[in-house]
């Protein structure tokens, strides 16, 4: 109604709350509030919100399985379940976390919500395809969960042949579920690429794209190029399991190592499907809370594409002890070193962004700090794992488990949580509790370290992964890991509770509580049906905070548009 400059706003110096800032005519009430209006919606924001709910449920299920694993490993012998149950539990943990949570979490959830807004578009290019993608996700999840409930799968999420083609458990439904979810992933990626190419608002050149878009764009490229290969591979395994066609079956002259090639051709880039969106979120967060332009925009933007491209050349580093040739080992080893560089570029640029900034230590920023540490340590241990002779010792031990959890939980989940806190005011129009947020962040970061640093040491000692029982010398570190996991889980439960409270009773956040110059903050919170009151035109980059840019006053100082 009236301009609400910062000086008038209540709240701390970290964010500005605005009691009048709840935009009533938003996407949550328009075009309707009934169930049908959600199930048939073509609005990218609603689809994004449905994805966020879906992946959060998947995260809870996967987390529950994780706690079962840690509980079982509390003692060296059998603790709470038998070996077969344990094998099913860790398989389900992997399948649920990777296919149902990690891959869709940030791109399909936050990406769907914010990509069109950041482009100044009204929607994604193909809204119907977008809805189809969501239902394919649900269908795939349903098929996979059917397989898990009726029979379960004990192959591990990697489905290595010939184990997966000879096991008596129900592998085929889980494979088909992953196959269907793959198509969901492809459709989302396709949609995002086309949207980025064709629906940018006037003035939004490639050089002005928000870094979140660059990250999501690079992710989409991987989804498009890698997912079909794994789809076909999973189908081949299913055909072999059901009908004995024998493409990977050593008894019929097939080569099981070929399966590993195909599988990792997707699954290694899939790691970047998981981490690139988190990096994209962090690029936004670091600028917003340092209130400064990113140090080296081009470096950060192009390194996303670099990761997407070079990430495809490294899959063989999962096969160093699989009987792969030493020649291929060398090629994949050296190429892996290059993919580490792109991550290093990002890390240094984020750090340098803080230089001469105005840094606010809020919950999203706390997750940024955690993210940065986990990414550096997880990333460098990843490069260390590609150092061939070291990998021979570490391969398939808890060192690998700890490494990829540093990247996937450490980095990706930190990115997810940072995004959740950063954008919650935009999505719901309400603010979470900053005090509880910081408490939970500290618990999560510390609990995480206590869970996985012992696992690095277990790997050094030589404890192989997927072990149901273990010699007693591994006991102490396993107990430490389980203890850490409990703290981590408790922290996540706290996040869940205060987020739900905030959605219902949180203080009104207003248009731009963080004083960010990201494009998504130019629209009211929650955003209206077609994202902007009038189609926007951009005359500046998204991360420019310098006061020598008079053409672009801080958004919170701009006059509020009229609304009822």
């Amino acid at each position: 109604m009236n301009p609400s400059p910062a000086s008038e706003a209540s709240g701390s110096m970290h964010f500005v709350t605005d009691q009048n800032g709840y935009f009533a005519d938003n996407y949550l009430v328009k075009p309707g509030t009934g169930l049908r209006s959600w199930l048939y919606t073509l609005d990218h924001k609603r689809i994004g919100v449905m994805y966020l709910v879906g992946v959060s449920i998947a995260f809870a299920i996967g987390g529950f399985f994780a706690m079962l694993i840690r509980l079982e490993l509390l003692t060296p012998g059998p603790t709470v379940m038998d070996a077969m149950t344990y094998n099913r539990v860790f398989t389900l943990h992997g399948v649920v976390m990777i296919f149902l949570f990690m891959i869709p979490a940030i791109p399909s959830g936050f990406g769907n919500f914010f990509l069109p807004i950041m482009l100044g578009a009204k929607d994604v290019a193909f809204p119907r395809l977008n809805l189809l993608s969501w239902y394919l996700y649900l269908l795939g999840a349903a098929i996979a969960i059917y397989g898990m409930v009726y029979g379960g799968t004990d192959t591990g999420w990697t489905f290595y042949t010939p184990y997966s083609t000879t096991t008596a458990t129900k592998v085929v439904p889980v494979l088909l579920g992953a196959f269907v979810i793959g198509f969901s992933s492809i459709l989302t990626g396709l949609n995002f690429i086309v949207t980025t190419h064709t629906m940018r608002a006037p003035g939004l050149t490639w050089g002005r794209l928000p870094l979140f878009i660059w990250g999501i764009y690079a992710t989409s490229v991987i989804q498009i190029l890698a997912t079909p290969v794994v789809g076909m591979t999973l189908l081949l395994v299913a055909v072999e399991n059901a009908f004995g066609w024998g493409i990977f079956d050593p008894a019929r002259g097939g080569d099981p190592v070929l399966f590993q090639h195909f599988f990792w051709f997707y699954s290694h880039p899939a790691v970047y499907i998981m981490i690139l969106p988190a990096m994209a979120v962090i690029s936004e967060v670091v600028c917003a809370f340092a209130r400064k332009n990113i140090f080296g925009y081009k470096a950060v933007a192009y390194s996303s594409l670099g990761i997407a491209f070079v990430g495809f050349f490294t899959w063989g580093h999962h096969l160093f002890v699989s009987g792969q040739s030493a020649v291929d080992g060398g090629i994949f080893g050296v190429l892996t070193m290059f993919v580490g560089i792109f991550t290093a570029i990002k890390v240094f640029n984020w750090t340098a962004t803080l230089y001469k900034g105005s840094v606010a230590f809020t919950t999203p920023f706390a997750y940024f700090v955690g993210f940065l540490f986990f990414l550096v340590f997880g990333g460098m241990t990843g490069v260390a794992l590609a150092t061939l002779s070291l990998d021979v010792h570490w391969h398939d031990t808890y060192f690998v488990v700890a490494h990829f959890h540093f990247i996937m939980v450490g980095a990706t989940v930190m990115g997810f949580l940072a995004a959740l806190h950063y954008w919650l005011p935009k999505i719901t129009g309400r603010m979470y509790s900053e005090g509880w947020g910081l408490v939970a962040a500290v618990m999560i970061v510390l609990g995480f370290n206590f869970t996985f640093i012992p696992q690095f040491l277990l790997g050094n000692m030589g404890m192989p992964r997927r072990y149901y029982s273990y010699p007693e010398k591994f006991w102490a570190l396993n107990v430490a890991s389980t203890a850490g996991a409990s703290v981590l889980a408790l922290g996540l439960v706290i996040v869940l509770v205060y987020t739900l409270v905030a959605i219902k009773w949180g203080p009104i956040a207003g248009r731009n509580p963080w004083n960010s110059r990201g494009f998504e903050w130019m629209t009211p919170s929650p955003p209206p049906l077609e994202n902007f009151e009038k189609p926007p035109t951009f005359t500046h980059g998204p991360h420019e905070y310098a006061d020598e840019d008079p053409a672009f006053p801080a958004p919170h100082l701009a006059p509020e548009p009229k609304h009822v």
């Binding site: 000879t166 190419h197 064709t198 940018r200 490229v221 190029l225 290969v229 050593p250 008894a251 002259g253 097939g254 080569d255 190592v257 070929l258 090639h261 195909f262 051709f265 495809f312 050349f313 063989g316 096969l319 009987g323 792969q324 040739s325 030493a326 020649v327 291929d328 090629i331 994949f332």
Partner: protein, 132 residues
């Protein structure tokens, strides 16, 4: 950029390409017959595949460039298609390179080079047995 590009794409499609299509059809038929005849000649081992694939690539390029109008289109569409072909080469090339250079006995028994060479004593169990 995007707008002008799509303008150009539409403009080009408005011209009639019928003559060009006929020429491409003729070339495709000729190349198909050529590859069939080349296969009859029985070239030495690697060359038969190389010739067959070279002709197939020529035919594929004709289809992609003229029937599918990549010749007329700029930028993104070409890039997308070219990128997918790069990754085809990547997957085929590096998996094949692995099989060609690994420890020969690690290839399936009965395949090229995997038969026990003289310097390897056959295993005492009388060969690898694998039972389901």
């Amino acid at each position: 950029m995007a707008v002008s590009e799509s303008h150009a794409e539409s403009e080009k499609l408005h011209h009639s390409h019928l003559g060009r299509y006929v020429a491409v059809l003729a070339a495709l038929v000729v190349l198909t017959v050529t590859t069939y005849l080349a296969a009859k000649v029985h070239l030495p081992a690697p060359w038969n595949v190389i010739v067959a694939l070279a002709i197939a690539t020529a035919k594929g390029s004709l289809v992609a460039l003229f029937f599918m109008h990549l010749w007329d289109q700029q930028g993104a569409n070409r890039l997308v298609f070219a990128t997918s072909l790069v990754f085809v080469a990547l997957l085929v090339g590096l998996t094949l390179a692995d099989n060609a250079t690994r420890f020969p006995l690690a290839n399936p028994p009965g395949s090229v080079g995997a038969l026990p060479a003289p310097e390897y004593v056959p295993p005492p169990q009388g060969g690898a047995t694998y039972q389901r």
